[in-house]
Every structure is written in C-alpha cells, then in structure tokens.
Amino acid sequence: MAMRAGDIEDMIKAGIPGCVVRIDDLRGDGEHYAAHVSASAFKGLSRVQQHQMVYRALQGKMGNELHALAVHTTVIDDA
C-alpha cells in the first residue's frame, strides 16, 4: 500500500516539532520518495541518530508501507 507525500510530511512534522520538511516524489509511484528534514533537534546527534528520529516519527512505516524513502538530514543552528 503506497503512501502520499503529504502523509509522510505530516508524520515527520508531528514527530519532530519545529522541523522543516521537503518531500521529493522520485518516481510518482507512491513508493519512492526522498525526505529532506532540517531540525534544531538534530543538533549534537550523529547522522544515524538523526535518521532514527525521522524513522521514529514515521511510526514503523519505514521498511513496511514505505519501501524506499531516502532520508537527508541537516541541523538548524538557531544560535
């Protein structure tokens, strides 16, 4: 069962308050997306930890309904 880009964006925003999300639909098949997530909450976390935060926000959909989601994270430095 495919997912809509808007659903992915909403879940990530709900799971990581204050983050900025851009979803690219890579193939238009509802299966292959890229998520660009920027958040101050990533500060001090390793890449793996940042990506795990995104996966937690997706509540288990990653690797199930969501087969191919390329994740790119950047830190928002609100210093």
Binding site: R47, V48, H51, Y55, G60, G63, A68, H72
Partner: protein, 112 residues
C-alpha cells in the same frame, strides 16, 4: 529476537573489519540500495564480508532489532554501525567514509 541471532551478529561484526548486511550478494545484489553500497565499497577498494539477509529471515529481522534501524542494507565498520544506503552515500561523497576507513587502518589514506 532470540539471543543466538544477536550472538551471531556480534560474532560477524567483531570478526570482520567491514560487514555489509544486504539483499543478495556482493557479486549479485538483489536490491538497488544494496547494490549502491557494494559499488561504493568496491570503488574505494575496501574488502568486506557480505551477508545475504534474504537467505536468513532471523538475521533479516534480527539485524533491524539489533540496531533499531528498519531497513537493509546496513554497513558495519570495526563492529560499529555506520548507516544505511543514504548515510554511506553521503559519507562517500564527502570523503568521510574514505577517511574513516583509513583512520581505522583498513585502507590506505586518500591521496591529498
């Protein structure tokens, strides 16, 4: 997840400098993401042990529980989980992966 799966994983990642849990094998990857990481490691010239999770359902789920990481492939260097396809590709593009391998004495340092 049973203890012996975790023990098997711990043994594999401690006995091999680089371990890639992937779908398929290094010579015959069966998933685009796994193939990308194989290509990167081959390009760097880093020898690695490939573990085909499609041949072992326990390992396929166990590795995800072990790292709390929901997807395959998963790359380990000197027993440490480095990341999946996205992170490995980003690290390769920035040169961070090559430097990490050189620092850990697995490959020779990059030409300046």
């Amino acid at each position: 997840m049973s203890n012996d799966v975790f023990e098997q994983i711990k043994q594999d990642i401690s006995q091999n400098d680089i371990v890639l849990y992937m779908k398929g094998t290094a010579s015959f990857p069966q998933c685009g993401f796994s193939a990308t990481v194989v290509q990167i490691l081959s390009q760097i010239g880093a020898p690695f042990k490939d573990i085909n999770v499609l041949e072992n359902a326990d390992i396929r789920q166990g590795i995800k529980d072990f790292t709390n990481w929901p997807t395959i492939p998963q790359l380990y260097i000197k027993g440490e989980f480095v990341g999946g396809c996205d992170i490995v590709r980003d690290m390769f593009n920035s040169g961070e992966l090559q430097d990490m391998l050189a620092e850990k004495g697995i490959t020779s340092p990059r030409a300046a």
